[in-house]
Symmetry: C2
Subunit: 298 residues, 2 copies
């Protein structure tokens, strides 16, 4: 990593743009080339001076090759990462990674593309935002965030250490996880919450009395609870549709688990059932305990 001179960031949205700013700060000697889809993104990158060079995809494929770079980061939606993997040179010293939010389909593509030892390590930095696009890029996006690292079968073990060191140099902390465990765990800890947040907002506005009160007020009738619970609602549809495609069955299972929990609590609230609301106390206590485990509070 200390010898790296040229880094390619393929996809310069919030994540790619922020990564470019972070690398510029921590490794001032590295020259960063960004690849974007549109001319307008190219202009934003240039205007905001996010990377040293910036090319559209077609310019990139006409004038450069992946082997020109020491490190290549794919920060496009997962589907597009998967479509690019078969174009990668099968040998060489270039280290590859991606910022994909799901792992199983990427690892399948990597495992089937490379025949021998290779340098592709998949990454998932957990530092999304309800914002998107290079306009929202900021150099501390990766600071103190978790980056999950997943090793494909034939990847060189030392390359895992190298990629972890890179993320740690950028300010993240790292954790290695298998692709199946990753996708199942993330369906519960990330994908499910995004769907629940989105449905909450839609359910609230669909209630006519609530809608009328909201419309009558000049300021929001919401406390911190609703505000926090709705922050991620509806964010970044392109990215989320991509995640949903890649992780459909895990998300389906997490939604079904949630539905069972919801049905149990609905039955307690049923005014015709005369059930004891005190039962909710154990649900509440269980969640406080679980929250401590999940958030690692002592």
């Amino acid at each position: 990593m200390n010898g790296w001179k040229n880094v390619l960031i393929f996809g310069m949205g919030l994540m790619g743009g922020s990564l470019s700013l972070a690398i510029k700060k921590k490794f001032p000697n590295i020259r960063i080339t960004g690849v974007v889809r549109s001319e307008s993104s190219k202009q934003t990158i240039q205007k905001k001076n996010i990377s040293h060079d910036v090319l559209t995809e077609s310019e990139f494929y006409q004038t450069r090759t992946f082997s020109d770079f020491d490190f290549v980061v794919f920060s496009t939606p997962v589907r597009s990462v998967i479509e690019t993997i078969p174009k990668l040179p099968k040998s060489g010293t270039t280290v590859y990674t991606d910022l994909g939010s799901t792992k199983e389909t990427i690892l399948t593509a990597v495992n089937s593309h490379f025949d021998t030892v290779h340098h592709y390590i998949s990454s998932h930095p957990m530092c999304g935002s309800e914002h998107s696009g290079p306009e929202a890029a900021k150099e501390d996006l990766y600071q103190d965030k978790l980056c999950i690292v997943t090793k494909p079968e034939k990847a060189k073990p030392e390359t895992v250490d190298l990629v972890r060191s890179f993320w740690e140099a950028i300010g993240s902390w790292t954790l290695e996880m298998g692709e199946k465990e990753h996708d199942e765990t993330l369906s519960y800890l990330s994908h499910l919450p995004h769907i629940l947040s989105t449905l909450l907002v839609n359910t609230a506005i669909a209630n006519p009395v609530t809608k009328k009160q909201i419309e009558k007020s000049t300021k929001p009738i919401t406390g911190g609870g609703f505000r926090d619970m709705s922050r991620i609602a509806g964010s970044n549809p392109e990215m989320w549709l991509s995640i949903f495609e890649e992780n459909r069955s895990n998300i389906f299972n997490s939604l079904n688990d949630y539905k069972i929990a919801l049905e149990e609590i609905i039955e307690i609230f049923n005014p015709n059932r005369n059930s004891d609301l005190e039962k909710i106390r154990s649900v509440w206590e269980k969640s406080l305990f679980a929250k401590e485990i999940i958030q690692k509070h002592k």
Copy 2:
């Protein structure tokens, strides 16, 4: 309000304690008496110098009457507010309010207790926190928060203005709402989100793969999304059980509405159905639009 000399705060948890600190700051000439349930709370109030005087409930009833005060604030759970209302003097100039999170049952108690014009105006300051108790009290808790004010049938109209002015002097902004509209609206904007947050945490920890990955990591495997979505989970069970008792049927309806939205999205994810995940785009777009209406962003 400018002539007020003695204020009673009945219940000195997070809300009552913070209110006392706010009044001390804005109205240094007002003497505040706090009423608490336990000796240990009394000591906390004294040690942290939250109110000028502090009495246990039995000390209060033995030595003082509500008429000794210009303004009385009930900041106990709603059920206890309702049990106290029949003890209030039916005449006099004392202004009464409460900080109850639900309104219909309080208004029923007020309407049936007072025979003639009175000065009880119900309030709901929306500034909860996942913390509770007087230890967590802070003088800016009410700053820039919404306080919903509800007028009982026979309350003097000028007293509504007085109570609104009080809240505005404390730094809140106010909105008048009928009791039925309040309870239905809040079930969607506050009570439902608290239940959803609690169930999310419980659903995540119940998945064995997720639990194992969490246990293997020394730091939380969660991004900002899960963190925000779980902040209010399991908080303050006493207060929430009280809210659930008072607003059961509205919450039941909001949970059922949510379940319908959840079932619709589950069907889209069903891998056996081969349905089009693109359908989710409209759910996502609807929620962005709804979020702007609810949060009053332009």
